[in-house]
Amino acid sequence: MNGFILRVYDLDKHFGGVYAVHNCTLGVREGTITSIIGPNGAGKTTLFNLITGILQPDKGTIRFQKQDITALPPHLVARAGISRTFQQAKVFKNMTVRDNLRLAHEATDAELKKVLDQVHYARELDTLAGELSYGNQRLVEIARALLLPHSLLMLDEPTAGVNPKVRNELKAILKALKKQGKTIVLIEHDMDFVMSISDEVIVLNEGTVLTAGTPAQVRKNPKVLEAYLGK
């Protein structure tokens, strides 16, 4: 089994009186696709924001490739090798696709096109990002995350708001990236998507890990459905 590329120990983050993430401990193995699932408000996006330095934890440690990245600011987390996308595709709408991509990394048109090919993006580099469909904006955002030199790719709900065609493309893209040796962590609500591509599924509930395992193990665990349906 591969070693851990990312480990989170005993992480806490509260907002007012509510713990969004509480005593959260988990690990992501190198070269795998790991999905983080859980009901609304389970703390999934907060966990992403803690790992990528957008939020600072109240307590706990985050280690990435043997480096302690706890409380590093986002640009240093990115420099350490973690690239991410957001729940709502965040592209600069008034900028061309080319300029959006070059924000992540200086590259020639040929290099940009290569990355865009990788995400099955078929439009021109000169197109304004705001003129693209949401699905294509999503692909540009993923391409931008890919351009940033990284060893861990974190995707927050990559299939949210995209049509079934793009969803299937995404599935193929992630599988291809894994084949290249990339490690991918995703937050995802589309369970068929999760179950079909993940090596490991981590279930969060009320800020903490409820269970983790292979997709089949997680689906069989009655506690998981219970967490989704509420008390």
Partner: protein, 240 residues
């Protein structure tokens, strides 16, 4: 059917280029509690927004009290007796509790009627009475949810749309709130509620609709949650 309070047929809706609902069909009877559940992104909130004209309706029809309201502006829907309590409460935090309630009666000119309605709302939510002159931001999460519901009741609706009323509430507060929803319903106001806490919502529901990928996948009564298909809808695995 003619005796439905609200009837939605083949509804396709979304936001700009993004389509969320792909042919939704369901109906709410007068005086019932109907609950819409389903996984994230299934389109639950978009159904409520369609009924209140807060998103783009592309196809299909919404009939309320036998009147086609599909292309009616929001304020006219309010006048017909539909109110919405949006997700995340959305109270006006810098206005007082009284002013928030008055905002709910924006379409009413009659000051006496507004006073009567406020006192009716306070019967449902007596804890708001000592807070009438306090700014809404000073209220607890549960009280803000009550205020948002109170504001929704100010037009004396026959159909109250509730979007995730339990969001961010402690279990005890949620239980209390659901009791108030039942009380409001007993006075004849039909409820259409979207709720992520499926178990709690179904416990007070007359009819349950399960939404999956922009369509109604299942319909039933209180026991619907025991249906084996629920697991597939929430955790995937169709055809596995």
């Amino acid at each position: 059917m003619a005796n439905d309070l609200l009837s939605i047929k083949n509804l396709e809706a979304g936001y700009g280029k993004l389509k969320v609902l792909f042919g939704v069909d369901f109906a709410v009877k007068p005086g019932e509690i109907a609950v819409l559940i389903g996984p994230n992104g299934a389109g639950k909130s978009t159904v409520l927004k369609s009924i209140f004209n807060l998103c783009d309706i592309k196809k299909g029809s919404i009939v309320y009290k036998n009147k086609d309201i599909t292309s009616l502006p929001t304020h006219e829907r309010i006048q017909l007796g539909i109110s919405i309590v949006p997700q995340g409460r959305q109270v006006f935090s810098n206005l007082t509790v009284r002013e928030n309630l008055e905002m709910g009666a924006y379409l009413t000119q009659d000051k006496d009627l507004i006073e009567t309605r406020i006192s009716e709302v306070l019967q449902h939510f007596p804890e708001l009475k000592p807070k009438l002159d306090h700014n809404a931001f000073s209220l607890s999460g549960g009280q803000q949810q009550m205020l948002a519901m109170g504001r929704g009741l100010m037009q004396d609706p026959q159909l109250l749309l509730l979007d995730e009323p339990s969001l961010g509430l402690a279990p005890k507060t949620m239980k209390d709130l659901f009791k108030r929803i039942q009380d409001i319903n007993k006075e004849g106001c039909a409820i259409l509620m979207v709720e992520q806490n499926a178990k709690a919502a179904c416990a007070i529901a007359d009819t349950i609709f399960v939404l999956e990928e922009g369509k109604v996948a299942l319909k039933g009564g209180k026991k619907l949650l025991n249906d084996a298909r629920i697991k597939h809808i929430y955790l995937g695995g169709h055809g596995h």
